[in-house]
């Protein structure tokens, strides 16, 4: 029945599985290249240097132990004494002067500056060189107004050191709504310039500003001038302890001399002190009528400060009188018709012999403390000594009214004067004759073949061979003067002193 049967196994291939083939292989990376390098941080070394103190090096004089010094001196001393003696007595080199600078020997006009925009309708009323001597400023206006001034003028500056100087187009033009009568650059700050207008306003401009260059103005009020401002001048502030502090002084036809102080913080000018020139100060011959009130104001036309004593100044007036004044004077006060916040008083301390017409300019000499020049409508030029009432010298060149006169800054004996006939006259006090050494034609030619009157002139304090003149047609000429006139002679100051100092015999 049941028996064991072994059946053979039955195989069958899968129809979805494939046979895989296998193989065996090996791999390896390429050999790594390794390098070994060593480095180390920087080593520091400290070295010091120092300049040697020169004075230490000079250990004193050489010691002389040879004992021959006395013998040498004994030998040489007589010769030395003889030479020293001869030198003191010798006159061999008295007039001997050597000029090393090449310089020019002639006078020439190097620039003719105009403002084409004005077209010749305004006159040059004032000229000023700035504190570096490179820029010249001119104020335009007219002297012949009949009533209110409705002109619109300007203050123009030219920088003469610029290469592309356009003689007919100023570098800066500052518009002003009335005629400008005078201008003055600040003595140490080359950007500040002051001007006085026909309306009595004193304005200070700051040329370093970008937009509105007007820094401050005195405005039209009770404190400022009511008549044209004839002169503005910067004066060192003697009361201030700091150096380089300046006050601005303005004088005007209303008789007032106002001292303005610039407030450092607000940069505004404020009235600091004031003086007034009154009828009672005039010498009797000049007083118009006896019935006129003694305290009626008298117009002041020019002012100049003494170069050694900044407290004393001279003023020239419209009737022709010349006065010596002092900043600390406390003279008579006007009765009360002048309204002012500062009490005005008369500054007059001495009256000089008067001119016969308005005094157009008065200038103290920069070299001699007592000498001053005045020029006036009476066609004369006078040299006064501060200590004497009568003038030392009266010059009458015969060229019409003398509008301005200025001393040279480099030669004590040289001064210039400008005339109605369009000439710039240069006088040298070392010459024996009272005639000008040079006559330059400075005024422009007008229609009728005459020259325009030259109204103002100004020497350049830094480049002492330049002088600028301004005429009635609005043209500025800059002249170069010859070297013989610009370098001082050794006897200049002596000769000026001889003329001016009072001699006991006369």
């Amino acid at each position: 029945m049941f028996a064991d049967i072994t059946l053979e196994s039955v195989t069958f291939k899968s129809n979805w599985k494939k046979e895989r083939s296998l193989a065996s292989s090996g791999c390896q990376t390429s050999e790594l290249v390794v390098e070994e390098v060593a480095c180390q941080s920087v080593k520091y070394k400290s070295v010091k240097t120092q300049t040697e103190d020169d004075s230490d090096k000079f250990s004193g004089f050489a010691d002389d132990n040879s004992g021959h010094l006395a013998e040498f001196l004994r030998r040489v001393e007589p010769a030395m004494h003889k030479q020293l003696e001869m030198n003191v007595k010798s006159h061999a080199f008295d007039d001997y002067e050597v000029t090393w600078d090449e310089g020019s020997s002639t006078m020439s006009s190097i620039h003719k500056l105009t403002n084409a925009a004005h077209d010749g309708q305004f006159q040059i009323t004032g000229l000023s060189w700035n504190s570096t001597g490179a820029v010249i400023a001119a104020s335009y206006g007219r002297f012949d107004h009949e009533d209110w001034c409705t002109h619109k003028t300007s203050l123009c500056t030219w920088n003469l050191e610029r290469r592309n100087l356009d003689e007919n187009k100023p570098d800066t033009v500052l518009e002003v709504s009335s005629c400008l009568m005078c201008t003055a650059f600040h003595p140490s700050n080359p950007a500040l310039i002051a001007g006085g207008t026909y309306n009595g306003v004193v304005i200070v401009w700051d040329l370093s500003r970008e937009d509105d260059m007007v820094l401050t103005s005195s405005g039209i009020g009770d404190d400022s001038h009511r008549e044209p401002v004839s002169k503005v001048i910067w004066v060192p502030d003697t009361s201030s302890l700091k150096k380089n502090k300046y006050l601005l002084v303005s004088v005007s036809s209303d008789g007032k001399m106002l001292v303005w102080k610039m407030d450092r913080k607000t940069k505004q000018i404020e009235l600091h002190d004031g003086f007034v020139l009154m009828n009672m100060n005039l010498p009797t011959q000049l007083r118009k009528s006896r019935t006129m009130r003694g305290d009626k104001e008298v117009g002041v036309t020019c002012i100049s400060y003494n170069n050694e004593n900044k407290d004393s100044f001279i003023i020239g007036s419209e009737p022709g009188a010349v006065f010596k004044c002092s900043m600390s004077a406390n003279g008579e006060q006007p009765a009360g018709n002048i309204i002012s916040s500062i009490q005005l008083k008369s500054p007059v301390t001495f009256t000089y012999a008067h001119h016969y017409g308005p005094v157009y300019s008065a200038e103290f000499s920069p070299f001699h403390r007592n000498a001053f020049l005045t020029s006036s409508m009476d066609q004369t030029l006078r040299l006064y000594s501060m200590l004497q009432k009568q003038p030392i010298m009266t010059l009458e060149p015969g060229e019409g009214v003398i509008y301005s006169t200025k001393w040279s800054f480099s030669r004590p004996a040289l001064f210039a004067a400008t005339t109605d006939t369009g000439l710039l006259l240069l006088y040298d006090l070392t010459q024996n004759q009272p005639v000008p050494v040079y006559k330059l034609e400075a005024g422009g030619l007008m229609g009728n073949n005459a020259r325009a009157p030259v109204l103002t002139c100004q020497f350049n304090q830094h480049q002492n061979n330049l002088i600028a003149t301004g005429d009635a047609m609005g043209c500025i000429q800059v002249f170069r003067i010859s070297d013989s006139l610009k370098t001082p002679l050794s006897r200049d100051l002596e000769i000026l002193g001889e003329l001016v100092d009072i001699t006991t015999e006369s």
Partner: protein
């Protein structure tokens, strides 16, 4: 030495004399009446100038020699008395 001082004083006392310097042959000052820096300046410059002047005179005529040198300027006159070992320099202001 007193004599040297005396001589110096005598020359210094002359009218218009500003200073007196004695320099040795190397150009180093030995005695002076002026301040250090001025003395050193004068000593160096003047001894060179004196040497040049002497060689100029001798070049023109070998038998000649420099006896005295005067330099006149706008402000002063410098007088130099040369010698083999020393140089005496005197500065005078002749005007007043």
């Amino acid at each position: 030495m007193a004599e040297v001082e005396e001589t110096f004083k005598r020359i210094q006392a002359h009218k218009g004399v500003i200073g007196v310097i004695v320099v040795n042959s190397e150009g180093i000052p030995i005695r002076s009446t002026l301040d250090n820096s001025t003395t050193v300046q004068y000593a160096g410059l003047i001894s060179q100038l004196a040497a040049k002047a002497r060689s100029t005179v001798r070049d023109i005529d070998p038998g000649n020699d420099l006896t005295f040198l005067r330099i006149r300027s706008k402000k002063h006159e410098i007088m130099v008395a040369p010698d083999k070992e020393y140089l005496l320099i005197c500065i005078q202001s002749p005007h007043d």
